[in-house]
């Protein structure tokens, strides 16, 4: 029997999701034995024209990482959707927008202005910026158009499964492969992760939370056995899905939410605001204002990985 066909793609991403697959170590050999890999830019040499040439739905499993922030990425997402039986949003960027969706606090024009014209490390005396079409002596060159708003994969094409994480941990990658190989995939729409929150899975000692102030890292030495939030460190654990293996908290770093909202929560940032409001002990406007000021960059922290998937979606665009 022919092996099932596997495609892996990176969109607006960093390559960390691809490396996470390589982090399966010797199990990568099982994956290579199990599947016929038909596309994987980081590792094999197939081109887009190879994928365009194959029959629709002939790829059995597509692991698509990265957010969608350009016309090319949208086109490739639609191409893989057309050619794949099962599409998996792989990693925080594909699932929720991830770090690239922090761009939703700004706009395409602001990004191009800073990156190409203002960044202090630039040397761009001719003020060159990317153009959709550039005439050269030999013909014309084309670039994709950037979107103002970074999107999740599911905002562009239907998706069967989701594997969260920045990057997804190896045990969840192997779980996905095992489920697929054994024909035991969960119902469509499933998140391959835990149904609990990070807090539920965290083994730090939790007390009844009564926070009187929040600290930045240089203002406090934390107790590694105790809940970070109890100690006044902003931790996104209460509003984040578990299954990550507590990689950050075990390294004494607070959760930043890369597994997205837990089941039943629509908006991760709002849930965090609600969690923090309910544990803060302080009366009166003055105490509340002081607390708000102690939380530096609340939007960029509470929506660190989830801006594209949030109810806010983006900062309002300034009309020019």
């Amino acid at each position: 029997m022919a092996k099932p066909k596997l495609a892996l793609y990176w969109s607006a991403a960093c390559g960390g999701c691809d490396v996470a697959i390589l982090d399966t170590n010797e199990k990568i050999l099982d994956i290579a034995n199990l599947f016929d890999i038909v596309f994987w830019p980081i590792a094999v040499d197939f081109k887009y024209h190879h994928i365009r040439a194959i029959e629709d739905k002939s790829i059995d499993l597509c692991l698509f990482n990265g957010a969608i922030r350009s016309t090319e990425q949208e086109e490739i997402a639609k191409l893989f959707r057309e050619k794949s039986k099962v599409m998996v949003a792989f990693g925080a960027c594909a699932c929720f927008g991830g770090i690239p969706a922090l761009a939703n606090f700004t706009s395409r024009d602001e990004i191009l202005q800073t990156v190409y014209l203002e960044a202090p490390s630039n040397s761009n005396e001719q003020k060159t910026v990317p153009l959709l079409r550039t005439k050269v002596a030999e013909g014309e060159l084309e670039l994709p158009e950037l979107f103002d708003t970074v999107l999740t994969l599911e905002q562009v094409v239907p998706v069967e499964y989701f594997v969260p994480g920045c990057p997804p941990p190896v045990d969840l990658i192997l779980k996905l492969v095992d489920l697929f190989a054994s024909g035991k995939m969960p119902p469509v729409g499933a998140m391959i992760a835990s149904d609990k929150t990070c807090c539920d899975e965290c083994d730090r000692i939790k007390e009844e939370k009564k926070i009187t102030r929040f600290y930045r890292p240089h203002e406090i030495i934390t107790d590694p056995k105790k809940c970070l939030l109890d100690q006044g460190i902003i931790c996104c654990g209460p509003a984040t899905r578990g299954g990550c293996g507590m990689r950050c908290v075990k390294a004494n770093m607070p959760c930043r939410g890369c597994f997205g909202p837990p089941p039943g929560v629509v908006d991760q940032g709002t849930k965090l605001v609600s969690s923090i409001a309910s544990i803060f002990q302080g009366d009166g406007t003055e105490a509340i204002n002081k607390m708000v000021e102690e939380i530096v960059d609340p939007a960029g922290t509470f929506y660190r990985f989830g801006m594209a998937d949030s109810m806010l979606k983006r900062k309002r665009l300034q009309k020019s």
Partner: protein, 63 residues
Amino acid sequence: MAKISIDPITRLEGHGKIEIFLNGDGEVENAYLQIPELRGFEKFCEGRPVEELPRIVPRICGV
């Protein structure tokens, strides 16, 4: 002028395509490397607390 596109370029981290223009004799007249990807870290890191940047900028390249 005939054109060969290598899209995407593979076995590296990141996105790129190469356009190769051939002259009438089928020889390479010129070749262009294009980067069809931009995320904008230079912009969206602005306003983030400095202590958070070691957890944001590793996502420039995770390879």
